[in-house]
């Protein structure tokens, strides 16, 4: 027997994934055609076609937003390397690694998220500043509304904003990251039973401390000897791991500036 209602998932997509103007009439037309005997396959094709067409139009209507999001996210890996290099020179990560669990991990991940947010917000402000300046609306409230607009996108991709950059740093700058954060925390370990037996000192723990200190020194010497990756070389790095690190930055910038642009268009339309 033929279902009375069109596929719910397709209807949901039609309602939620088509940006811009109201699509009530389109949804009604597709519903009417489905009730008149069109197949589920036809309905799905129409919905996917409508979403593709609308997205293409919206992207072209906001070309500058798209271009800026691409360019700014291209800079993200260089920013990550620069900040990681700075942290290594200040031995910040080693200090974090020396803290008790869970503070070592919480602060390490938190500092990475914070530096990523600084980069994102700097990009958003850089994009908004000329417009606001020209419009004579360069006020704290106008700027903070741009930051606020980024929060929904940040909340959606916050895990990706930590995991993908961290993976990129682990691959691109292992010398820096070896002695930092979560990786550094793994240096603090308890001796295995075999190691404990092998240590023939009266004071086992003192010997173990010396062994750990030696391991630390070795890693530190490796860190200083190995050449640090140069941030600007990451600008044109098109490896998969680098591109993956750019994706969450691209999405946040694109969604934020898109919503700001739509809000501005709505405001100018209501003025008219």
């Amino acid at each position: 027997m033929r279902p009375a209602h069109p596929p719910a998932a397709a209807s949901w997509m039609l309602e939620h994934l088509i940006p811009g103007v109201s699509n009530e009439a389109l949804a009604g037309d597709l519903h009417e055609e489905f009730r008149a005997g069109r197949s589920r396959r036809w309905y799905w094709r129409q919905v996917l076609g409508a979403i593709s067409i609308r997205c293409a139009r919206e992207l072209l209507a906001h070309q500058t937003v798209l271009l800026f999001a691409v360019l700014w996210s291209m800079l993200a890996p260089a920013w990550l390397l620069a900040v990681a290099g700075l942290e290594a020179r200040m031995h910040l990560s080693e200090r974090l690694a020396g803290m008790d669990w869970p503070w070592s991990i919480v602060l390490d991940l938190g500092s990475l998220l914070a530096t990523n947010l600084i980069f994102l917000w700097a990009g958003i402000l850089l994009y908004l500043l000329p417009d606001l300046w020209i419009a004579g609306a360069l006020r704290f409230r106008a700027l903070s509304s741009g930051i606020r607009a980024s929060l929904p996108a940040v909340i959606v991709v916050w895990v990706a904003l930590i995991v993908l950059p961290k993976h990129f740093l682990a691959v691109s700058a292992p010398e820096i990251r070896a002695a930092t954060g979560v990786a550094g925390a793994s240096l603090v370990r308890t001796p295995t039973p075999r190691e404990a037996v092998r240590i023939e000192d009266q004071n086992i723990w003192a010997a173990y401390d010396r062994q750990l200190a030696a391991e630390h020194d070795e890693i530190r010497s490796r860190t200083t000897v190995a050449p640090e990756p140069v941030p600007h070389e990451a600008l044109l790095d098109l490896r998969m791991v680098t591109q993956a690190a750019r994706i969450p930055f691209f999405l946040v910038i694109l969604c934020t500036l898109w919503s700001v642009a739509q809000r501005q268009e709505g405001r100018s339309r209501s003025k008219v």
Binding site: A25, H31, W42, G49, A50, A56, R57
Partner: protein, 124 residues
């Protein structure tokens, strides 16, 4: 799920042209044909009947919105009906400027056709 026709519809909408495209012209003529009953479904059916192939209703709406932005058609919302899932119809009608544009395009095309020599394979 998407067909080649949908792709070409997308490409067509990616160009912001000031003159009437083939698809836009067909839609304008369909709206004139249908009169007071011109909304998404009959317009699409009219196009399918004459072109002999499936039409993406989303592409029809995109073209209609573009024509509306150019001032060639105007739209108004009807009442919601149960057979449409409680959604209203959006009726379209051609404006004076739209009619002028259709006549102008017809005039130019007729002139061009008249001056054309007999095409290869064409049978009178």
């Amino acid at each position: 799920m998407l067909r080649a026709g949908d792709f070409f519809a997308i490409v067509e909408f990616m160009t912001d042209r000031s003159y009437l495209g083939e698809f836009e012209m067909m839609i304008l003529l369909a709206v004139i044909h249908l009169g007071d009953e011109a909304y998404g479904v009959p317009i699409s059916r009219e196009l399918e009947r004459h072109r002999g192939r499936d039409v993406a209703i989303g592409s029809v709406y995109a073209a209609l919105e573009r024509l509306e932005a150019k001032g060639l058609v105007a739209s108004s919302l009807g009442d919601p009906t149960p057979e449409r899932g409680g959604k209203a119809k959006r009726y379209f009608r051609v404006t004076e400027a739209g009619l002028r544009q259709v006549h102008e395009t017809r005039r130019v095309l007729s002139k061009l056709w008249r001056g054309l020599p007999e095409l290869k394979g064409e049978r009178p």
